[in-house]
Every structure is written in structure tokens, then in C-alpha cells.
């Protein structure tokens, strides 16, 4: 997945002065661009325009009678009132808003870290030692992509019930049944479980490409196996680590369903704030404002990721 994305982000720069390529001469200037027009039109109407509507709703008003959002499409009439109120709910330390935000940052950080450590070990083993089982392990590593997220989390919801198999297993050791649903650790592990496949595959891609001879050279030159790992393997897999961390953490920021199935109000995350505001009467502008804040929040890792993958392809 990572290799694909990275390949796509690579841009080829050309000066105006360079001679036209053969394809440009024989195809006509608008031949290839015309292929992209349907897609561009689609994105313009259903990807970019919606963001404008989000702005208009967030900076708009609410119908006093029906409590429906009254979007304002003219930027010069935009009012920052609702947005400011929503924003102040975070800065003033309102626990209903601030807690989910802090929780989200903490959960995403912890879960991404667990994903990285566990995912690295699995990817490393599969890339270097799996031998003839490699094929089977790869299929099993990809399998979660084919099983819906919903079913995987639902499966855990059942296992973690008070009379579920997890408590049954713990009961063997004399542990009294634990209420798992609604605990932070359950939600964090649920996030890890849900997104770790996205970490393992890019890591595997990079680890698999490392030339065995480099490692042997490191060992021949007297490095210990730990040193070889730290000075050769780790730097070479750094792009994979970066790609994996971003791919894993971005969807976690918007995740609300893991918490809805495995958590409680005490573990609710930022996504839950949006999800509950969307359906409520009179909360339209607030939902819009919350979405805007989330966009700003994830913009930095997103741009960083898109830029760094592009740089790699240019360097390659």
C-alpha cells in the first residue's frame, strides 16, 4: 500500500523549455488531461464543495423554529460566533469537550506506539525468517483487510462480555469476571486491533526490500546483531515506520465506532463528539465547527506524509 501511494505522489517536474515528449506531439494537448476531467469534476462537486458547505454551516446560523442549520454561503456574511463558542468549549476546559480531545490524543499516541512495536516485530519476522511459511503468513496478515472492521470489533465485543471467553479463560487462573467494556485499555487495544494491519504491510514492504548483504556486511565489519539492527535495519526501514504511523493514526483520530462498541461515555473520543452532534437538532453548526477543528488537527500529519513520500520518490 505504501509503495503504491509513494509511487503516485511522485511528481515529475519539467521545464517549459524541454522539448515535448513524443506522446504530447502525437496525442494533442488536451488528449490526456481529458481523461482526468470526469474525476476532477467529481472531486470538485463531492469532495471540495462539501468542505465549503461545512464552512458555511459552521459559520452560519440556526433556524430558530426548526433548529435546522441555516448555512450562509456568502463568506462576507459569515459569523464566527458558533465556531468561537465551540472552540472556547475546548480552551475553557469544559470537561465534556476537553476530555474527549485529550483522550483521543492519548489513545491515538499509545495505540500507534503499540501498533509500531508489535507490528515491527511481526513484519520483521515475516520478512526475514518466515521461510516456507511466508506465503501463508502473508495471507493471514492481509486477511483483516478482507474482514470488515465492524465484524472484527463486534467479535471482540462478544468475547469481552462478562460471560465471554476472555473472562472464562481468566477464570481458569481464579480471576473474577472483569467488566471489560468501557475501560480505556479495552478501547486502546480495540484501536490497535483494528488498525495494526495498516502498520504491518508498509513495514513489511520496506523490511523485505533491505538487502541481506548489507546486514552481512555490517556483521562482517564487526557490528553486533543489535548494532546491525540499530545502524542498518532501523534507518532503512524508517520510511516504513513513518508511513505506518501516519496511516494508522489518521483514521484513529476520526474513529468513533470502536468506542461505541467497546467503550462507554467515560472513554468517548473526538469522533464521538462529531457523531453525536451531527444528528442533534440545533447542533448543525457545532458539528461543522468540530469537523473543521478535526481537519486542522489531522492536516499536519497528512501534509507531512504526502510531502515526505513525494520526496522519497524524487530521491529514488
Amino acid at each position: 500500500m505504501a509503495s503504491n501511494t509513494e509511487a503516485v505522489t511522485g511528481r515529475r517536474r519539467r521545464d517549459r523549455n524541454t522539448p515535448k515528449t513524443r506522446s504530447e506531439i502525437s496525442y494533442g494537448r488536451w488528449y490526456w488531461p481529458s481523461f482526468t476531467f470526469p474525476g476532477i469534476l467529481w472531486l470538485a462537486v463531492l469532495f471540495i464543495l462539501p468542505f465549503y458547505v461545512v464552512l458555511s454551516v459552521a459559520f452560519g446560523a440556526v433556524d430558530p423554529l426548526f433548529r435546522l442549520p441555516l448555512p450562509v454561503y456568502q463568506p462576507w456574511w459569515w459569523s464566527l460566533d458558533t465556531f468561537q463558542t465551540t472552540f472556547e468549549k475546548f480552551t475553557s476546559g469544559s470537561r465534556i469537550y476537553l476530555d474527549p480531545l485529550v483522550r483521543t490524543l492519548a489513545y491515538v499516541a499509545i495505540a500507534s506506539l503499540i501498533c509500531l512495536v508489535l507490528g515491527y516485530a511481526v513484519a520483521y519476522y515475516t520478512a526475514r525468517y518466515a521461510g516456507r511459511w511466508r506465503w501463508l503468513i502473508l495471507v493471514l496478515l492481509i486477511a483483516p483487510f478482507w474482514i470488515s472492521y465492524l465484524m472484527r470489533i463486534y467479535a471482540w465485543q462478544s468475547l469481552l462480555q462478562p460471560d465471554g471467553y476472555v473472562n472464562d479463560a481468566l477464570g481458569v487462573f481464579g480471576v473474577a469476571p472483569i467488566i471489560w467494556i468501557g475501560r480505556p485499555i479495552t478501547v486502546v487495544l480495540g484501536l490497535v486491533y483494528g488498525y495494526i494491519p495498516f502498520m504491518i504491510l508498509p513495514l513489511f514492504g520496506f523490511l523485505d526490500r533491505i538487502d541481506q548483504h548489507m546486514l552481512e556486511a555490517g556483521r562482517d565489519l564487526g557490528a553486533s546483531s543489535y548494532q546491525t539492527f540499530r545502524r542498518v535495519t532501523l534507518p532503512l526501514s524508517k520510511p516504513g515506520i513513518l508511513a505506518g504511523l501516519v496511516i494508522v493514526s489518521l483514521p484513529m483520530f476520526g474513529d468513533y465506532f470502536t468506542n461505541n462498541l467497546l467503550g462507554s461515555t467515560n472513554t468517548s473520543m473526538y469522533g464521538n463528539l462529531i457523531d453525536s452532534a451531527v444528528g442533534q437538532a440545533g447542533q448543525g453548526p457545532e458539528a461543522g465547527s468540530l469537523v473543521l477543528i478535526l481537519i486542522v488537527l489531522v492536516m499536519i500529519p497528512m501534509l507531512y506524509y504526502l510531502r515526505s513520500t513525494r520526496r522519497q520518490t524524487e530521491a529514488a
Binding site: P33, W42, V122, L140, L150
Partner: protein
């Protein structure tokens, strides 16, 4: 593969050490610890799903305590079984309808975009490609809520929440898959084949249809399978965009049921969803193998990665 065999065939120069530290220092010891982690991870990753499937055959209302085998939730129960629950059946057809329509539109759109963007250089092309990738990495809730607000406000009179809105949302979300997969394939093919075709006198349209498209088929097929599977599973975008209950696909129904009071019928419905996805992937995989069979390409790893 070669790495692994290398490690395996290397003669063990050091005599097997008996002490614990000697074992630790042996550079060619088997990585038992990593192996245990990997096997543990695989079990952790797959077992819960298998258990969930088994529990769809539970003879009782519980989805966590086994009460004997029965087909109650699949067929026997006259109201709550998957077979007899009309709402679930409607949802299943809705899922199939939406996923098929999405594939039919998202894959051609994305493929054309990938081909065009591969040959069109300049600032507008870069910008378009950037937005396409942006839609790929964006958390899904953002897209879902923005589309919901779009259809509820600006397009209020044109598009109502329901099948139409769900379809438009799914295509928007899925279009980037074919773009990424087909583009990667285009980069690995290179321009030589097409140039050869043109040297031999093929006009543009013909070289596209007879040279490029056949080369792209595996990638197009892989992305179609992926888009279908992902549309079946999607519930974030679709949930915001579904209108009346009859327009809710299976995934949304399962999500709602899982939050309320789920019975093993939910397990059965989820199993059906899984079987649908796996069947499509398997069919695509077989066709994929047929297409790439005689070309001597690195089918296994590369193909698997594309899926």
C-alpha cells in the same frame, strides 16, 4: 524468499552452545521470541472472527456462551433468523446493489484519472492528484459528515438521503483506490510498450485500447475487487447518508444491532457479509491468475500486495 533460504542454508559454524548466554550470543539462533510474537499476533488477529462465525450457530440468544449447535439464527427461527428477517434481506440486496454500482462507476473514473494524470504534467495535474490522495488519507468521518451537510443543505432539493446519496458518497470515497493501484501499475509498465505501438503505426486510441488496457487489466481487476469489498464493509459514510430504514445496507444494520441487543443473528449477518467479500476476492484472484498466467510476472507477491 531468497533471504530466508540464505539464512537457513548457512552452515552453523559455532558449536551449539549449552549455556544461556552462549545461546544468546549465537547469531544464527532461531528467532523463537519473534516467532512467538508473530504466531501470537496471527492467532489474536484471526481467532475472534472465527469464534464469531461459530457463534452464529449457537442454539440460544447469547453470543458469548455456547449453548449447542443449531441453525436457528440462519434459518429456523421464523422471525429473527437471517433467512426470514425481511429487513435483513432488504439490507443484503441494498448492499449488493450499492457495491455493484460503486464498482461500475468508481473503477472507470479512477482508472481514467490514473491514466490521464500519468501523462499530464503541470501544476493543475499536480493539484488534482494531490486532492485525490487527500481524499484517500482523510479520516472517513470528515468525508461522511461533509457529504451529509452537503446533501442536507446545498443539494437539499436535488438529492435526498438514501440510495442516491449513499452511492455518490461511496464513489467519492472509493475512487482513490483504482487511481493508486492503476497508477502504480502504469509506473511499473513504463512508456515503452505504447511507444512501440505508435512506432508501428497505431493511432492513439488504438494503442490505448489494444496495448495499454490489456496491460492494465490485472490492476483494474484488483482495484474492482478491493472497491467492492470495501463498499460492502463501509458503514461510516453510508450511515450518515442513508435515509429510510429500507435504504440501510447490511453493514449499517449490523452496526445498529451490535449497539443495541445483538443476537447470534448479527453474527450470521456479519458472516454473510464476510462470505460475500471473500467470494468476490476469490473470483478476482482466480481471474487475476489467469490473466497474468503466461507473462512470467511476479504474480504471487506483487499480486497479493495489490489486493
Amino acid at each position: 524468499m531468497s533471504d530466508a533460504t540464505l539464512t537457513r542454508e548457512r552452515p552453523i559454524a559455532v558449536a551449539p552452545a549449552r549455556t544461556a548466554t552462549g545461546w544468546l550470543r549465537n547469531p544464527w539462533r532461531k528467532p523463537r521470541f519473534l516467532q512467538a510474537i508473530t504466531l501470537g499476533y496471527l492467532a489474536w488477529s484471526i481467532l475472534p472472527v472465527i469464534i464469531a462465525i461459530v457463534f452464529s450457530f449457537n442454539n440460544g440468544r447469547s453470543r458469548s456462551t455456547w449453548q449447542g449447535f443449531s441453525l436457528r439464527w440462519w434459518y429456523q427461527d421464523p422471525f429473527d433468523s437471517v433467512w426470514h428477517d425481511t429487513a435483513l434481506r432488504t439490507a443484503m440486496f441494498q448492499t449488493l446493489k450499492l457495491s455493484t454500482l460503486t464498482v461500475l462507476l468508481a473503477v472507470p473514473l479512477g482508472t481514467a484519472f490514473a491514466i490521464g494524470i500519468d501523462r499530464w504534467h503541470g501544476r493543475p495535474a499536480t493539484t488534482a492528484n494531490f486532492f485525490m490522495l487527500f481524499s484517500f488519507v482523510m479520516p472517513e468521518i470528515i468525508l461522511g459528515v461533509s457529504l451529509f451537510l452537503l446533501f442536507q443543505n446545498l443539494f437539499k432539493d436535488a438529492i435526498h438521503l438514501g440510495t442516491g446519496a449513499e452511492f455518490l458518497g461511496l464513489v467519492t470515497f472509493q475512487m482513490s483506490y483504482p487511481v493508486i493501484i492503476v497508477r502504480a501499475r502504469l509506473l511499473s509498465i513504463g512508456p515503452e510498450y505504447e511507444e512501440a505501438a505508435m512506432d508501428l503505426g497505431a493511432p492513439p486510441r488504438q494503442s490505448l485500447r489494444r496495448v495499454l488496457l490489456p496491460l492494465l487489466w490485472p490492476a483494474i481487476l484488483a482495484s474492482a475487487a478491493l472497491v467492492f469489498a470495501d463498499s460492502v464493509d463501509d458503514f461510516v459514510t453510508v450511515r450518515y447518508l442513508s435515509g429510510p430504514a429500507s435504504s440501510e445496507p447490511l453493514s449499517v444494520k449490523i452496526y445498529s444491532a451490535a449497539r443495541a441487543s445483538p443476537t447470534p443473528a448479527v453474527n450470521a449477518a456479519a458472516t454473510i457479509m464476510l462470505i460475500t467479500t471473500l467470494t468476490v476476492i476469490a473470483i478476482a484472484w482466480l481471474v487475476f491468475k489467469r490473466i497474468t498466467h503466461n507473462r512470467g510476472e511476479g504474480v504471487s507477491a506483487a499480486g497479493l500486495a495489490e489486493f
